[in-house]
Amino acid sequence: MGMNLFKTTAAIAGLALMGTGMATAGEESALTINGDLTIPTSASAPAHLENIDMVTSGWIYRTKETQALQMDDFDNPSFVFVDVALDLWDKVDGSEGKACSSCHENGPEEFAGLTASMPRINAEGQLETTTELVNECRTERMGAEPWKYSKGKMAAMTSLIGLQSRGSVVNVAIDGAAAPYWEKGKELYYTRVGQLDMSCSNCHEDNYDVMIRADHLSQGQINGFPTYRLKNAKMNTTHARFKGCMKNIRAKPFGQGSDEFKALELYVASRGNGLTVETPSVRN
């Protein structure tokens, strides 16, 4: 299954390689994965961003060692979890006696491009995340228990689904029915919270590319999520990352899967419109 994906991307990547040569890690270089999939790590900022000209992937701010782990799927520890998800894919669960593969017969490849447009508005006009799509299949279609929002199985499955969009350009819709959610997410992004009284923008817009003690601040983009972190040796979801950043400024985090974090996810994803999906990425 994974191999199929590499073959399809290889053709496109041949072209891209000519431009960048053997990229070395660093801010100006492109991210080349498995020697053949080249992922641009910066792009012109989407029109709605007023204070930033270029949007950049978090990958460029990491050390060469961490960057290298993402440049080869054999070195990328995320793939242990992708394999876990491939097992879950075929595992029968719930009262209907079905596995994901019972219905999604073409494999996870069916979801190519999906993550690049998530979260999105569903038929009922509600904002919906990839995590919710998976749990909807589990509860409504399999008669199974939902997986915990950010825990191991869900983080693994959304990594497998995200991998199908690796190389696709992020393009979440922010207009129409998405607009009120987007506005709410934007407000959360710029609101100072916590005893340290800071907003996401204080660090990720005003100070990206600056050292904050031992950390090189990025723009806080989510085009690589879920991401494997060396710090905790597992896949980390967007909501888990938002939670961590809020706790660091001594703010009470919103719940994982809460309306607030969903709106924030839409807004943060939209700040990366134009970047390329890197899931599953590696960070420190």
Binding site: R192, G194, Q195, M211, I212, A251
Partner: protein
């Protein structure tokens, strides 16, 4: 045992009394153009203690954002704010006390946290609700330490 307990109690009482008696509460600090002329405690700041508070990640964590060549043993110094090398040459004590207590009174809209306020911030984690990041004496200690950065 008895002696130990007795002195322990005495010293706890002693510090409580000194604190409650002399410290200016966070809401009561008098700013004049961002500066705070009077000591918050009436007890002289201890520069050596201030240096510890300055570097400690759970207290001042000033190194998160400032470099300071006087603390070479800490390998990571942030660069969000200006270097504090020579800070005492740029600011007097009253200005530094104001900046450490509530830097927003000096630098409008700054990212630098206010270290001696206990309200005006939202959604704090419960244990940080209604308490300042530093105590009054810790502010005095940090100010005394900054005054050594010539």
């Amino acid at each position: 045992m008895r002696v130990l307990i007795a002195t322990a109690v005495a010293s706890v009482l002693g510090s409580t009394v000194a604190f409650a008696g002399a410290a200016v509460a966070p809401g009561e600090v008098k700013f004049d153009n961002g500066t705070v002329a009077a000591s918050l405690t009436g007890v002289a700041g201890d520069a050596a203690e201030g240096r510890v508070v300055f570097a400690n990640r759970k207290l001042g964590n000033c190194l998160a954002c400032h470099t300071n060549t006087q603390i070479p043993e800490e390998s990571f110094h942030g660069q969000v704010g200006p270097t504090l090398d020579g800070a005492a040459g740029r600011w007097n004590e009253a200005e530094l006390r104001g900046i450490v207590s509530n830097s927003k009174m000096t630098f409008e809209g700054t990212i630098m946290p206010a270290f001696y306020v206990q309200s005006g911030y939202f959604r704090p984690i419960e244990k940080f609700d209604g308490v300042s990041i530093l105590t009054a004496q810790q502010v005095e200690d940090v100010v005394a330490y900054l005054m050594t950065l010539k």
